[in-house]
């Protein structure tokens, strides 16, 4: 089971994805570890700043999380993507589906309606 770092601050759940890759080799573990944090809905931020590589399986796991949260009136925002991961999201047009922010702070602010989206 993947060890996710989870912090709850003022009603926002911050989940940091460990490791440098999210691909076919660990995407199932990631989904299994993340799922308990999603079942109650709420505001969730996925911090991808440690990731260096994401493939279509990793992308699919994040899409699954988004749909799970939307199904229980929750919301998911992403932050901390490096350039290659951002390029992958743009290649498959997922930057139109996810709300993506440069930093964790920007994502938190957007949840609090304190700042503009990245």
């Amino acid at each position: 089971m993947m060890n996710l770092s989870i912090e709850d601050t003022e009603g926002i759940r911050l989940v940091t994805v460990p490791g440098e890759t999210l691909d076919a080799s660990n995407a199932k573990d990631f989904k299994a570890a993340l799922m308990p944090s999603l079942v109650t809905g709420g505001k969730v931020i996925l911090d991808l700043s440690k990731l260096k590589f994401v493939d279509s399986s990793g992308l699919g796991a994040m899409l699954s999380a988004l749909r799970q949260l939307n199904g229980v009136s929750g919301d998911l925002k992403l932050c901390g993507m490096n350039k290659p991961i951002r390029a992958l999201f743009e290649l498959v047009r997922m930057h139109r589906v996810f709300e993506i922010y440069n930093t964790r702070e920007e994502a938190v602010r957007s949840f609090r309606n304190e700042g503009p989206a990245a």
């Binding site: 890759t21 691909d23 076919a24 080799s25 590589f53 493939d55 279509s56 399986s57 992308l59 699919g60 796991a61 899409l63 699954s64 988004l66 749909r67 350039k83 290659p84 390029a87 992958l88 290649l91 498959v92 047009r93 997922m94 139109r96 589906v97 996810f98």
Partner: protein, 675 residues
């Protein structure tokens, strides 16, 4: 006692009148002795037959006989009104019964006559089916009809350019009769009505007598005619019958028979017309098939193969089997020429102009080549246009055309665009897609002395599309155009798989867009792809082997980064994205024997490109069968193949037995220089 009327013999009566008189005499013979009844029978001709010889009374009861002028006179001296009423009723009943019987006999006669006619019609119809010759069938019809009565003549006349020509006749008839020559008969028939007249001199009275034309019916004592009509109920002729004697008259039943015969003749003529139309259509269809085959040979050149730095493919589909699009290819020592043209309009006419235009271009190239060097595109256009322009203007046709040369030495494309659709280019190196366009007018608009040639660089991984407007003007059922945007989407999505698959996918997408609607314009498309690794030999090659399982993915990524260390981050990112998707696909679909079935990889690094080859035993892979991913986030999967095709600049796939061989080439992108 006989009265003042002449007394005729009963033997002179017609059979039906004789039968009637017999009945009347029988019915009243016993009464006459008691009541002094006198009964007279008067024929229509005025002759009288005395049936019961009683005393003549001053005011006898008179009974009319049907439609004739005959009557029965009853002289009686009844003692009461009741007795008179009974006598009157008795005579009336006998006469009514006789009238009914007479009608029955007439109906039976008519039925018998018509039955014979139907038999004749049936036989003739069978003849038509057997011989398929309408003239022969009509002659038989007329001959058989005329034979129904001894002494009857019949003639079928059909109009051609306002003149009636005999088509079937047993009697010589002039070949140049007009409707006016037929007088009242002609006028009646032209009004789609049947003409019928009896009596001495009928022909002379009702049909005009034209000096110099011997029309046999002018001496007729009975004359009848009915119209022959086309399927649109237009009178196209008539069937004319006549008798010179008075043995028979043409009555109402005969009129119906005549109409039935003319109806049959009309059907025979219509059937013949349809048969001839069908044969003509068959002949035309065969001609179009042959012309289409010739067009495929003459107008559509074959894409050349065996060019080291280019891969070329073309497709052409005509909207009406024969089209005005033409394409051709010419290989020179250091270049390849591609030209595509579209003649305004469709069908055989457009194809002929296309063939002439193409022929003129080939002649221009041959003539200019005599001078010892490969002529430039603009020289070829100028030469061909100078010879074609005036002719096209005279024909009121114009031709849009694009002539492009791919030069392997200068690594550029030289082209002249004469009002064509432009050249669509997808450049893998930069990810851009753009049009190359010229400003010249189509050939045949007006005479032009100066044409303009343009040049643009050609880069490894570039894909060029030359196409006719039938591609972007493909319409969906609502009338929306396929358009440039959808074509660009196809080009960007599928060009990495090579020109063959790209064109298949463009055709497939356009067909899907039409949703079963007709292809209204000619559809021609040429794809030219510059090899991503053209003229770039590898400077480092590495081999690797991994277990066929997704858990090996980190090790594979490590090997890839080590093997290709030093390449630009963007190039590495693209290769890594595509390579990992392929590795996972191999692991997921061929994982039955992970140790016996390793995933073998080999990397090539050149100065301008990097390439990864993957070799693995597994099921065949058809990129065209994979549905596109859902970009709205509604599905998790389906992105893998899309990522591979969009990340790789060139993707090649083939099978070697049960082995999948996949090659990914990435053009090295130089990192932007620091400012």
């Amino acid at each position: 006692m006989p009265n003042d009327q002449s007394i005729a013999s009963e033997q002179a009566l017609t059979p039906s009148d004789a039968s009637l008189t017999h009945r009347l005499r029988q019915a009243f013979s016993s009464l006459s002795a008691l009541r002094n009844i006198r009964l007279e029978f008067r024929t229509g001709a005025g002759n009288s037959v005395l049936l019961l010889d009683g005393p003549a009374m001053p005011d006898p009861l008179q009974f009319r006989l049907g439609e004739s002028n005959g009557c029965v006179l009853l002289h009686e001296n009844a003692s009461s009104d009741t007795e008179r009423f009974l006598l009157k009723t008795a005579v009336g009943a006998i006469l009514d019964k006789a009238e009914v019987e007479k009608r029955e006999e007439l109906l039976l006669d008519e039925l018998g006559t018509n039955w014979e006619s139907l038999e004749a019609l049936y036989e003739i119809s069978t003849d038509v089916l057997r011989f398929g010759d309408v003239r022969n069938a009509l002659s038989r019809l007329i001959e058989r009809f005329a034979s129904l009565q001894d002494g009857m003549h019949a003639c079928l006349l059909l109009t051609r350019n306002g003149i009636l020509h005999p088509l079937a006749t047993g009697t010589p008839v002039p070949d140049d009769i007009s409707w006016d020559d037929l007088g009242a008969l002609g006028q009646t028939v032209q009004e789609s009505r049947t003409f019928l007249v009896n009596g001495r001199g009928a022909g002379r009275e009702h049909v005009a007598v034209v000096p110099g034309k011997v029309m046999p019916w002018t001496t007729a004592s009975s004359l009848a005619a009915a119209p022959i009509t086309s399927r649109r109920q237009t009178v196209i002729g008539l069937l004319l019958v006549w008798r010179d004697d008075s043995l028979f008259i043409f009555d109402a039943p005969f009129s119906r028979l005549l109409e039935a015969i003319t109806h049959q003749a009309s059907m025979l003529l219509e059937s013949d017309r349809l048969n001839r139309t069908m044969l003509e259509n068959d002949r035309l269809a065969k001609e179009i098939e042959i012309a289409s085959s010739i067009q495929q040979t003459l107008l559509l050149g074959h894409a050349p193969v065996g060019i080291s730095w280019l891969r070329i493919s073309s497709v052409s589909a005509a909207s009406q089997q024969i089209d005005g699009d033409f394409v051709d290819f010419l290989k020179h020592d250091n270049s390849v020429d591609v030209f595509i043209g579209d003649v305004m309009g469709k069908g055989i006419g457009a194809a002929l102009v296309g063939a002439a235009t193409k022929s003129q271009f080939l002649r221009a190239i041959a003539n200019l080549a005599i001078q010892g060097k490969v002529p430039s595109p603009v020289d070829i256009i100028s030469r061909a246009a100078s010879r074609l322009g005036e002719r096209l203007i005279e024909l009121e046709r114009f031709v849009t055309l694009c002539y492009a040369r791919f030069d392997s030495v200068r690594r550029c494309i030289d082209f002249v665009d004469c009002g064509h659709t432009g050249i669509l280019v997808h450049r893998k190196h930069t990810g851009e897609t753009f049009f190359l366009r010229g400003e010249d007018l189509p050939l045949g608009i007006y005479m032009v002395d100066e044409w303009h040639q343009h040049s643009a660089p050609v880069m490894p991984g570039d894909t060029f599309l030359l196409f006719s407007d039938g591609v972007t003007e493909t319409k969906d059922p609502a009338g929306e155009l396929f358009g440039d945007e959808r074509l660009i989407e196809c080009l960007e999505s599928w060009s990495s798989l090579g020109p063959d698959i790209l064109l298949k996918q463009i055709c497939s997408q356009a067909e899907e867009f039409r949703s079963g609607g007709p292809q209204t314009d000619d559809f021609s498309c040429i794809a030219i792809q510059v090899s991503a690794d053209a003229d770039d030999n590898p400077i480092a090659i590495q081999n690797g082997e991994f277990l066929c399982e997704t858990g090996e993915l980190p090790a594979f990524r490590g090997w890839l980064e080590a093997s290709l260390s030093g390449i630009e981050p963007e190039s590495m990112m693209r290769l890594e994205a595509a390579a990992c998707e392929i590795f996972v696909n191999c692991a997921v679909h061929g994982a039955a024997h992970t140790r016996e079935n390793p995933i073998c990889v080999r990397s090539f690094m050149g100065e301008k490109h990097v390439r990864l080859e993957v070799r693995h035993q597994g099921p065949a892979f058809d990129p065209l069968a994979i549905p596109p991913p859902s970009f709205d986030g509604s599905r998790d999967g389906g992105f893998g193949t899309f990522i591979v095709m969009r990340s790789a600049d060139e993707l090649r796939y083939c099978r070697d037995g049960e082995i999948n061989l996949i090659s990914i080439t990435i053009i090295r992108r130089k990192a932007p220089e620091a400012t």
